[in-house]
């Protein structure tokens, strides 16, 4: 086993979640409700793809098996993907997209904040840079959840309908596994229990301001992104995202 097994697993989780969330956001290209919103969605999506590159570059270096970040992104199968179940869910309407973004951002912010003080200097550096971007992502998505939740009758109805579609996947925001526990003890990653608490507090605060009822905490079920057990949506997303490198391996232009 690679002596960096835990860190590699963790880097893939961070990178894959950012990549899949970024890919989902870019599906809005040409379809957003307003020009301003379209640019904002693409900017956030590309921020995340850039962060994914940093995490996957590091993972590839530690793997040292000849694969690079592009290979990890475009030639790994669904079962090898370690992203959160939440981010692979379809975009739905704008309310679902923003609710998903917010639930992810609120978690992402806490994780990066912790990682910016990581004992691994490379991890701390990547996290500190990403944290600036994600601070803004969280502010923006949090404001949208409030605007829609505490907006018109129609926007409230849609935002309220979006939550139950996503909520069960948030179980992954609050149940760290043994990999995260060991990395926490090694001073590399933040304490998963602390992340969970801070995530819950932020979600409760924004839902209250958005006049949205806070659901009961989600419970474990048979799927798990970090074990590669994904919902059916990831395979379809990867089929589109990976098409070119699958059909024309190592194509350049």
């Amino acid at each position: 086993m690679n002596p960096n097994h835990d860190l590699i697993e963790y880097l893939l989780r961070l990178g894959d979640s950012a990549l899949i969330q970024g890919q989902r956001l870019c599906e809005w290209c040409g379809r957003a409700p307003a020009l301003e919103e379209e640019l904002a969605l693409m900017n956030v999506g590309l921020d995340l793809v850039g962060q994914a590159r940093n995490w996957l570059d590091y993972a590839a270096e530690l793997l040292a098996d000849g694969r690079d970040a592009d290979h990890l992104a475009f030639r790994r199968d669904e079962r090898a993907y370690r992203n959160l179940l939440l981010v692979e869910q379809p975009n739905g309407d704008f309310a679902v997209t923003m609710a998903k973004q917010f639930l992810y951002d609120a978690w992402h912010f806490q994780v990066l904040d912790g990682l910016s003080r990581s004992g691994d200097a490379r991890v701390a550096g990547i996290a500190a840079k990403a944290l600036k971007e994600v601070t803004y992502h969280l502010r923006r998505s949090g404001e949208w959840v409030q605007r829609l939740g505490d907006g018109t009758e129609e926007s409230h109805r849609r935002m309220q309908a979006a939550i139950p579609q996503l909520w069960r996947f948030t179980v992954e925001m609050s149940d760290g596994d043994e990999v995260e526990q060991r990395l926490c003890e090694a001073g590399i990653a933040p304490d998963p229990a602390q992340i969970a608490g801070a995530w819950q507090a932020k979600v409760a605060e924004v839902f209250a301001a958005a006049t949205l009822p806070l659901p009961e905490p989600a419970v474990n079920f048979y799927l798990s992104g970090r074990r590669g057990l994904h919902s059916e949506h990831l395979g379809l997303l990867l089929a589109e995202m990976q098409f070119l490198q699958r059909a024309y391996p190592d194509a350049t232009w």
């Binding site: 301003e36 640019l39 904002a40 900017n43 605007r147």
Partner: protein, 93 residues
């Protein structure tokens, strides 16, 4: 979206002292206009500060008044410092 307000955007660049008009954005309110302006006008490192103003609040001069407002300034060269000859003893100012 149809009820969104048009805002004019002003950006102060890193080395600039004043905010300059760069264009406009649509937004539901001023806070969102700042965010939208950030996305549209500062993504290539253009600025360090943003102002947004509802376009409707700007009073503009009328194009019809161009002649009475601006033409009289054209033949008044004495309003420019370069019109005056400096005495030699002043040297370079």
């Amino acid at each position: 979206m149809s009820e969104w307000t048009l805002f004019e955007v002003f950006v102060r660049s890193k080395h600039g002292l004043n905010h300059k008009h760069v264009g406009s954005v649509h937004a539901a309110d001023a806070a969102m206009a700042i965010d939208n302006a950030r996305e549209l006008y500062t993504r290539r490192n253009e600025g360090v500060s943003l102002w947004v103003v509802p376009s409707a609040l700007i009073t503009a001069s009328s194009p019809d008044e161009k002649e009475p407002l601006f033409d009289p300034a054209q033949d008044k060269v004495y309003r420019h410092a370069s019109f005056y000859e400096l005495p030699a003893e002043v040297g370079h100012m």
